[in-house]
């Protein structure tokens, strides 16, 4: 037998016919009771897409209200609920679930495993996360807020004390925020425990840590971060419940408690949380850019080291969200240093992606278009982050629309673009069908225009003195025209997303068959059928390099010669 064949046997599987004949109830029951990582991955992703639409509606309501000064589209009470729910939804019920969904689907496939380490824990974690979102949104019905104007929480997604104390947050709206997130936090810890254990214990023969796809590495780092940082939020929320229900004084400033302590606890969670969100996005880029440049990732080991470094440093930068609370000059200076330090490994990653493009043969399919958008936009987002890291500059820019523009640049321009790239890249694998490339390009260009209209110009009102979380603003301060442009950009983004959803749905039913490996890629998920059978691989693969399918396709020049 030739060496090439002994390296990896391709999986030949014939798919059974689609089970359209099963009754709906049985199919629904299968989905609800599934412990298969692929189905749970899809459940997470669909759940996240539903909340993406809801969060988008909340954003649209805010932008209509802010398009002109002194508008009366919604009352201040409703507006304050909108920004609270929009932020909470997008972070906890869109970004985290969709990233967990992709991790769930592809980590086992990429490491040559049949499922996650703990399939039942996997299902439990998903349903806990889902329950958290339902609890949060039940607040619209059951929360009984202060002014009786609907009842969703209105304390902002970071729920600063003492605004959340019983004295200032009457009724139960804040409790829905607390409990919804406590429950979904349990789900997050369960999922990441699972991902970490899977990556460490379930790799196929030959796949040492140094031969794992970057996707698996980065999800491992993300999981480690979640385990350490979601718990502080859980702890702080338990403390808040003790304050609200048992008469405790953790954040009760009248009894000597400290409002700043909540800020510390929240941001010890909150800052690493955004790295939890961006690191899986980095994982997508690190898998997709090489395939569409036709070269391996530049500097694999450095990419791993940089990500681990980012993970560690991210635990030490949190008080850059608190530059204005009156810390000492030494405290402020320390956090300036740590925050700026994190830009070094982050920059290294951007340069390594640049190095991957360099000398390649770039193919501009939709996933790659979104990756290129990511690279430009993440660069800009990182630079506005450096500006905010310079504490005195943050004393002006903090809590203004400049910050809102910065973090949306990272989350929408970075994470969401990477997510769109991931959707288009892996949709053929998950559904067995190709999406429509023309519609994909329409989505990209419309969304790009809308994104830049909204979030480029959003920096300007911040520089001109417009704070965040205001339901209206004074005319004559020079903010009007920029707010109007920002609001108009929403339209393009909405249309782009609608085209995206339509593309997915239509292609699922009517798209061309994709085959195992439409992109001529190199990681293990492309060696099995599209969609993969329940058991993933007919025989567990044996690998000898980072790109097992490259070795198979290029037996005269395999990767393990060079690694």
């Amino acid at each position: 037998m030739s060496n090439a064949e002994s390296v990896l046997k391709p999986t030949l599987v014939t798919m059974p016919p689609r089970e359209a004949t099963k009754p709906l109830f049985d199919r629904a029951h299968e989905w609800i009771t599934t412990v298969d990582h692929k189905r749970l991955g899809i459940l997470y992703i669909v759940y996240a897409l539903v909340f993406l639409v809801i969060g988008g509606i909340e954003a649209t309501i805010m932008r209509i209200q802010l398009a002109v000064p002194h508008a009366h589209f919604v009352s201040p009470q409703v507006f304050n609920q909108m920004f609270t729910m929009h932020g909470t939804t997008m972070i906890f019920f869109v970004a985290m679930p969709v990233l967990f969904g992709f991790a769930n689907y592809f980590v086992p496939l990429m490491i040559g495993a049949r499922d996650m380490a703990f399939p039942r824990l996997n299902a439990f974690s998903f349903w806990m996360s889902a329950l958290g979102g339902i609890i949060l949104y039940f607040s619209f019905l059951g929360g009984s807020g202060l002014y009786g104007a609907g009842s969703a929480p209105d304390v902002g997604w970071f729920a600063y004390a003492p605004l959340t104390s019983p004295a200032f947050s009457l009724g139960h709206s804040t409790d829905y925020w607390i409990i919804g997130l406590l429950v979904s936090g349990v789900g997050s810890i369960g999922t990441t425990l699972n991902i970490a254990t899977t990556v460490l214990c379930m790799r196929c023969p030959g796949m040492t840590l140094g031969r794992m796809p970057l996707f698996a590495w980065l999800n491992l780092v993300m999981s480690g971060l979640v385990l350490v940082v979601v718990s502080p939020l859980t702890a702080a929320q338990i403390m808040l419940l003790v304050d609200r229900y048992l008469g405790g004084h953790f954040f009760d400033t009248q009894a000597g408690g400290s409002a700043v302590l909540w800020m510390h606890f929240f941001w010890i969670f909150g800052h690493p949380e955004v790295y939890v969100l961006i690191i899986p996005a980095f994982a997508f880029i690190s898998e997709i850019v090489p395939v569409f440049s036709r070269k391996p990732i530049f500097g694999y080991s450095i990419m791993v080291a940089a990500t681990v470094t980012i993970g560690f440093i991210s635990l030490g930068v949190w008080a850059h969200h608190m530059f204005t609370v009156g810390m000492t000059s030494y405290g402020n200076a320390f956090f300036v240093g740590s925050t700026m330090a994190i830009s070094v490994p982050t920059g290294i990653k951007i340069f390594n992606w640049l190095g991957t493009l360099w000398g390649g043969k770039i193919v501009f399919k939709t996933p790659m278009l979104f990756c290129i958008g990511f690279l430009f936009q993440f660069l800009i987002a990182g630079l506005t982050g450096i500006m905010l890291a310079a504490a005195p500059f943050d004393w002006q820019l903090g809590n203004s629309y400049f910050v809102v523009a910065h973090f949306h640049y990272v989350i929408v321009g970075g994470i969401l673009f990477a997510l769109f790239a991931a959707f288009y890249y892996w949709f053929p694998k998950m559904s067995g069908k190709m999406y429509d490339e023309t519609l994909g390009k329409w989505h990209f260009w419309l969304f790009l225009i809308g994104f830049h209209l909204t979030f480029d110009f959003m920096h300007i009102p911040g520089v001109l003195g417009m704070p965040r979380r205001i339901y209206t603003y004074e005319p004559g301060r020079g903010w009007e025209i920029w707010n109007l442009i920002v609001s108009i950009g929403m339209l393009f983004q909405i249309i782009g997303v609608l085209i995206f959803v339509w593309n997915l749905v239509w292609s699922y039913f009517k798209g061309k068959a994709a085959g195992n490996d439409p992109w001529d890629a190199w990681t293990l998920e492309w060696s099995t059928a599209s969609p993969p059978p329940e058991y993933n691989f007919a025989t567990i693969p044996v690998v000898r390099s980072r790109r097992p399918l490259w070795d198979l396709k290029h037996p005269e020049d395999p990767d393990w010669k060079y690694e």
Binding site: T197, M202, G206, L227, S231, D243
Partner: protein, 198 residues
């Protein structure tokens, strides 16, 4: 083919699947440690800052007996693990029962201490910063002991019904890790509450 002249690199076996339980439990311990860390930080931050109410020095007495019982339960659970690894289910059951008993003594002792603090000393969760942080931190630990006792009891019932065998030893080990963690947390809480911040 030219490839036949190249020597294949070795295909090492990475960490075996049997370690799943241990790795998973370590992840849980890391997450739980982070929660406790935050409560300890809050306790230390507010030490001495209460505006009113009894002080720790006035009302806290080191719970020696309870603590010794809890630490001893770590010893008994190790003996139980050794027994089941060798397949000796009867000694395993005895050591396991002892572990439960020692843990239960700890909880009862904590309850007695709290009764005394609330009704005799007037220290409640709402009386002051000290009260809030004390009952929250010690209570969080106690709730983890209770969860551990619940798990221990379930395994005890399964043992009594004859379902626990030698091949379950790795799972017993993983559960015992949780119990050791609860003990280790008590070392920290005991030190911080009854020694450092008094």
């Amino acid at each position: 083919m030219a490839a036949t002249t190249l020597a294949l690199p070795p295909a090492e076996m990475p960490l075996p699947q049997e370690y799943r339980g241990h790795v998973g439990m370590w992840c849980l311990i890391i997450a739980e440690s982070a929660i406790f860390t935050i409560f300890v930080v809050a306790y230390l931050y507010y030490a001495g800052k209460s505006l009113s109410g009894p002080t720790p020095a006035e009302v806290l007495h080191v719970p020696w007996f309870n603590s010794v019982c809890l630490f001893a339960s770590s010893f008994t659970i190790v003996m139980a693990e050794r027994a089941i690894v060798q397949g000796k289910t009867r000694p395993f059951g005895i050591w396991w029962l002892l572990t439960i008993a020692l843990g239960a003594i700890f909880i009862l002792g904590t309850a007695r201490e709290w009764y005394h603090l609330i009704y005799d000393d007037g220290l409640t969760i709402s009386s002051s910063l000290f009260g809030t942080t004390f009952y929250s931190l010690v209570g969080l630990h106690a709730s983890h002991v209770i969860i551990g006792l619940t798990g221990l009891s379930i395994i005890m019932i399964c043992t009594a019904l004859g379902y626990v065998k030698q091949e379950h030893a790795p799972r017993i080990e993983v559960f015992a890790m949780y119990w050791h963690f609860v003990d280790a947390i008590w070392v920290v809480v005991l030190t911080v509450v009854y020694f450092v911040a008094r």
